[in-house]
Subunit: 198 residues, 2 copies
DNA sequence: CTATTTAAGTACCGTCTGGTACATTAAAAC
DNA sequence: GTTTTAATGTACCAGACGGTACTTAAATAG
């Protein structure tokens, strides 16, 4: 299909770049702390352009979350695949939570989950989907660990998956709050140790 | 000393009652979610009275936090005294975090800590003091547990105290988010198990 | 050329926020 | 009585918020 020329004024709006900027800004400050006004001011974008493209604050955050999933979380989740051991997987998760990075501290999804009930319907639904996908990943990690005998079997993998989720979320929150990464990591490792066979 | 009569119009403002209402409302909704306007509207209090008594939002929250400490946390902390075993202490903490109550879910101090950097100077200082006092309590609980051999000795009691604080804060946050109390309790108990001797 | 279509961007809307000026009221002091 | 003091409460402030009407600009269609 040929891209037939459109009729009106040509678009100068760069959607991808705007979404990336939205992700970076929401990531840095948290969804509740960044206003539409402030974001438009920062990136030099007229508000009507934003509203035409994203429908409003809810749509902008949803687009930012989608981009965050595609560019940050999905690649990490993939690398937690079945060829990795339980220890390697938890190690990788802790690296993400507390490692040195050029990106903001913490996790955009974790910050969004922290204010879940103050999100719009679209962004809220995205958060729920992604949380569900993460939980499934954690559950699979635990299940493989149980099969290989490195995770205790007297808890269900669903429960242990939720426990893993809770502990990682906690570590991400601490990292975002600026706590000492080595302290955060040590506490998380202690929490993970509760999953080992007794 | 005799209470000599004051000169101007007599005061009808009830400070204690207002502080109690402020505590209840901040507890229920979180410090960031309750505006001065909304609070005054709810309790039928003119804003100038509030500003004369508390100086502003910061002072009101600080007063509410003081009241919370005196009426809620200090009585609990006292009951965690040296006559209690480690298990009894953690049990009592979990009861506070997840038990049935007539008060709001979660903990006003925990909610305030979650938004520490958006607090005013006075309320922020109160939060820091109370957090410090809690940490000391947790550390003492761990130390007694170590002395009695029910807590592993290969971690410092400072570190284990911070770990306890992290886990209790997490449980309180989950409870405030409306998660199933038995699930919250089970996860916290698993996390506490990491402190037992191996 | 003119008409039409589409995007860009100024300038505004109503609502809420934390905070306050000021007129009013009720007591004690004289 | 009048004056003085201190509390009350209406009515306001400037600024920020999410969102939008409308003018202007830039392209194609005829």
């Amino acid at each position: 299909m040929k891209t037939k020329k459109k009729r009106g004024r040509p678009r100068t709006f760069e959607r991808e770049q705007t979404v990336a900027l939205a992700m970076a800004n929401y990531w840095l400050e948290g969804p509740q702390a960044l206003s539409v006004n402030e974001f438009c001011r920062r990136v030099g974008l007229p508000k009507p352009s934003l509203y035409r493209e994203f429908g409003g604050e809810d749509g902008l955050l949803a687009a930012a979350l989608d981009h965050y999933w595609e560019s940050v979380l999905a690649p990490i989740a993939e690398r937690l695949g079945p060829d990795r051991s339980f220890d390697e997987s938890t190690e990788a998760l802790l690296d993400f939570a507390t490692g040195e990075r050029d990106t903001p501290d913490g996790c955009l999804l974790a910050k969004s989950r922290g204010t879940r009930n103050r999100l719009g319907p679209t962004a809220g639904a995205r958060v729920d989907e992604m949380s569900r996908a993460l939980l499934d990943t954690y559950e699979a990690i635990v299940r493989r660990g149980q099969e290989r005998g490195v995770v205790r079997r007297d808890v269900t993998c669903e429960f242990a998956g939720r426990y893993l989720d809770t502990q990682i979320t906690t570590a991400l929150r601490q990292a975002a709050a600026g706590e000492d990464p080595s302290e955060v990591r040590a506490q998380a490792e202690l929490a993970f140790a509760a999953l080992l066979p007794s």
